[in-house]
Amino acid sequence: MIEIHEDKCDLCGCCVGVCPENCIDLTESRISIEYDICTDCRKCEWACPFEVFEFKNQRANVKVPA
């Protein structure tokens, strides 16, 4: 899954522009990912000018069967 280092984020929106799932929320003061929708494509990680994202090799959106 993609981890966010919020302290590095400048809230610029570059990641939002390349996110194919439109699952990054950027308010005036916060960044967050909707992990249910995120597919771990890592485009945000590569596009970010400030190295805010870090890919951790574990699946974020595994649904536990009921």
């Binding site: 929106g13 570059c14 390349v18 596009a47 970010c48 000018p49």
Partner: protein, 388 residues
């Protein structure tokens, strides 16, 4: 804030407030929603514009012009400097004040502007956009509008919420970092551009003076080339080497959509303007002027739609944009794809050939001609460019 408007503009940058200004001027009831707490802040921009571009919208004023530009210097990877002749004058702006002024002009026409208002979706009815939901002062409010204008910048979520494809490819997104630095030794009337793999692969580095030994120093790297080394790293290395005594007054990140202009910039109930509509010049990355031009078109059309109560007129905005700047950007995008193929040795040989020409012949046109001569395979690309 009321619960219903003729036009709701999402985003208070130059494209958004210009759209608001002209929609209000045409008699529409207009609201601008800006997510940040202040118009114009934070600045995410190199801040350079040309005189001809801005005078249609606002008279240049020393309160927002930081420097007057009369020269360009282009630096090749091997250090060769080319100084092409340029006509006219350009400005490096203080965007904080500039954006404020544009917002004030919109407000003077009657547009209502609300800051710290975060739009989190658009609402639809029968396939037509009919408003937005906005988080404001702890509440989530549904606002109805005849037309929504998405001026939400590089993020361009308004369009995507409505079903338009505004995602920027990694190839076309420029990942940017910039500092505004003091105690830098720069010429106050000269914009510097550095090209090459070591400075900014798939992009360029800029030094734009802002007077009193300050400058915007930034670079943009193509997002598909920044995996191993991100924009900020490139910038820190450059600063360390060229301006070790600089004090950094501000540091910012940004994304510039240097993409093909969208095939459609409107749909029923919605128009997109500025970076949100990929209306940036794909070669230079400049978007202030084209965003304002599109904003003016969109604002006028929106007022017309409201006045005549005829949503089909919304397509006039598409047609006007495609006919004017859209066609030009389409051509620029093809040029960008050609330039993208240049490697450092191509750039060096172009610069070397340019610097051998008499000074009076060192124009931007000659630069392009040299580029073609020095890179024969480009001739095919350029032929395609002009005959396709």
């Amino acid at each position: 804030m009321k619960d219903s408007y003729d036009v709701v503009v999402v985003g208070g940058g130059p494209a958004g407030t210009t759209a608001a200004r002209f929609a209000a001027m045409g008699g529409a009831d207009v609201l601008v929603l800006e997510k940040d707490r202040e118009i114009g802040v934070p600045v995410r921009c190199g801040e350079a514009v040309d005189h001809e571009g801005i005078i249609e919208f606002i008279q240049p004023d020393k309160k927002f012009v930081a420097a007057e530009i009369r020269n360009f210097k282009l630096v090749a990877p091997d250090g060769t400097v080319v100084k092409p002749l340029i006509e006219g004058v350009g400005y490096v702006l203080d965007r904080r004040v500039f954006d404020y002024e544009l917002a004030r002009l919109a407000a003077d026409e009657g547009a209502e502007i609300v800051t710290k208002a975060y739009v989190d979706s658009v609402t639809r009815n029968n396939g037509r956009v009919d408003g937005v939901t906005v988080q404001y002062k702890g509440d989530r409010i549904r606002l109805k509008s005849k037309i929504v204008i998405g001026a939400d910048g590089v993020e361009s979520r308004v369009g995507r919420w409505a079903g338009m494809n505004t995602t920027v490819s990694m190839h076309d997104m420029e990942s940017a970092a910039q500092v505004t630095a003091a105690n830098v030794n720069v010429e106050d009337d000269t914009c510097l551009f550095y090209f090459g793999e070591k400075y900014a692969p798939g992009g360029y580095l800029w030094v734009f003076p802002k007077g009193n030994r300050t400058a915007n120093i930034g670079l943009a790297v193509a997002a598909d080339q920044s995996r191993k080394k991100h924009a900020l790293k490139f910038l820190e290395e450059f600063m360390e080497k060229k301006f070790p005594d600089a004090s950094v007054l501000s540091k910012l990140a940004g994304g510039v959509p240097c993409a093909e202009t969208l095939e459609e910039v409107s749909m029923p109930g919605l128009m997109l303007v500025g970076d949100a509509a990929h209306q940036v010049n794909p070669v230079s990355g400049g978007g202030i002027i084209s965003g304002m031009i599109a904003g003016k078109m969109a604002g006028k059309v929106a007022a017309d739609v409201v006045k005549k109560n005829d949503m089909s007129l919304l397509r006039d905005y598409d047609q006007e944009w495609q006919k004017s700047l859209g066609a030009r950007h389409h051509r620029y995008y093809k040029i960008k794809k050609v330039i993208y193929k240049f490697r450092d040795n191509d750039l060096n040989s172009i610069a070397a050939a340019m610097s051998k020409l008499p000074e009076s012949e060192q124009t931007l046109g000659a630069l392009f001609k040299q580029a073609v001569i020095k890179h024969p395979t480009l001739i095919v690309d350029v032929m395609k460019l002009f005959f396709s």
